[in-house]
Symmetry: C2
Subunit: 242 residues, 2 copies
């Protein structure tokens, strides 16, 4: 048998759980020593994989007893902000998100409506401002208000704006996001925002402020997303014990 990487083991384990061929009737998985007999890997690799499943909420492990599968949440209807951190913000799953309207322009530092949490800029700094109005299954879903650092991202084409910005930046410019600081709040809608959601001014909206950094620690964008509060739910699985 060939060697397996951690990600391959994760995939195989998930497959076995979904097929219901791995766990017994009580949801108990084979012990780690038994699983080692199924795949040609070391215990370290296996445990890294099991750890990923734990952080994703697929299983939980109990010292002295074993590993058990959990029932699944409706991930398809939720925005997963959880530990796995697979890809981007909301283009997760098979969601049908489209950009119905957008504006793009260059602004200066003083015109930004908010600023990143950590980085300081000089007054002559410019940003590429992007406002996007996006729908989920043709219903108004979110307003994305982003500022990109031109020295880092270069030009942004119209084609990129339609879809997932981070996917486009990775494919076309080999820019890979390394980590993100997120700040989640509830706000009151402005009149303009409310009009898009067909709500009233002052009504609630769920907001997510993101500061996105490259793998080398350089800030490439900061944004604020306003969600229709009737449609958006952020989901997180939090593992407390080691």
């Amino acid at each position: 048998m060939e060697k397996l990487s951690i990600d391959q083991v994760v995939a195989k384990l998930i497959q076995g759980i979904e097929n219901k061929t791995l766990a017994n009737a009580e949801g108990k998985l084979p012990s780690e020593r038994e699983l080692l007999g199924l795949y040609p890997i070391s215990r370290y690799t296996l445990r890294q994989a099991l750890n990923q499943l734990s952080k994703m909420g697929w299983i939980y492990q109990m010292q002295g007893r074993g590993s058990y599968v959990r029932g699944q949440n409706n991930h398809s209807t939720l925005i997963d902000q959880g530990d796995l951190g697979s890809n981007e913000d909301l283009t997760r799953g098979e969601k049908n998100i489209q950009t119905v309207h957008y504006t793009k322009r260059i602004i200066t530092y003083g015109e930004a409506l908010f600023l990143p949490s950590q980085k300081q800029f000089g007054p002559e700094q410019t940003f590429i401002e992007l406002k996007r109005y996006r729908t989920l299954d043709n219903k108004p879903y979110l307003i994305d208000h982003s500022y990109y650092i031109p020295e880092v991202v270069g030009d942004i084409s119209d084609a990129m704006v339609r879809g997932s910005m981070f996917e486009a930046l990775e494919k076309e410019k080999q820019l890979q996001v390394g980590f993100i600081d997120k700040f989640i709040q509830s706000d009151a809608l402005t009149a303009t925002q409310a009009e898009f959601f067909r709500l009233e001014e002052g009504m609630p909206t769920l907001t997510v402020r993101d500061d996105s950094y490259l793998r080398n620690g350089e800030l490439l964008a900061f944004s604020k997303i306003y969600y229709d509060y009737r449609l958006a739910t952020l989901y997180m699985h939090k593992k407390l014990v080691k």
Copy 2:
């Protein structure tokens, strides 16, 4: 030298970062091979510790270059929902949170205003309902609406209600929370809720629905917390690359 556990290494590294004795002027930490010379540990232990620092947002690591410290966010003013998962919900840091009013009663299944995401109950199931009105620095801050499973938690004394429920359950009943499913939304305030926050009905509130499970996978409580949207910010650090 004595052996060091991962948590001890984490503590020492954080101390070194805060003292500014560990990183150089550019924020670059010693290489892993150099750090191994400072502490009597194996590379595995060191990397587990560095991984924790990465997930907490203290540092970032770059293959081929090294590890670098990040500037810190104002953790004291934020609710950290992030990866660290050290203890409980919001009693984190030195926050001055107090319960100014609460009600406790036994209800039946049909009376619950919401239900957990995964578990099914029979119609004869009862819950311990707890509503708590809590302040931060003597200002109205949150309304905590919780249902505890009596078969799991037993009785809840008045002393427990005043402070952190999970801390009390752990100390007095040796019940340890293993993992939590979280669902974050923005809602409109009811008239009763708005009165506590001195806001108007229909104005925004940030809500967090928690399903809390013991280490053995048993649900012990489910809750919904309504925050004053002017005061609450959830913070999260998301690491995307391996």
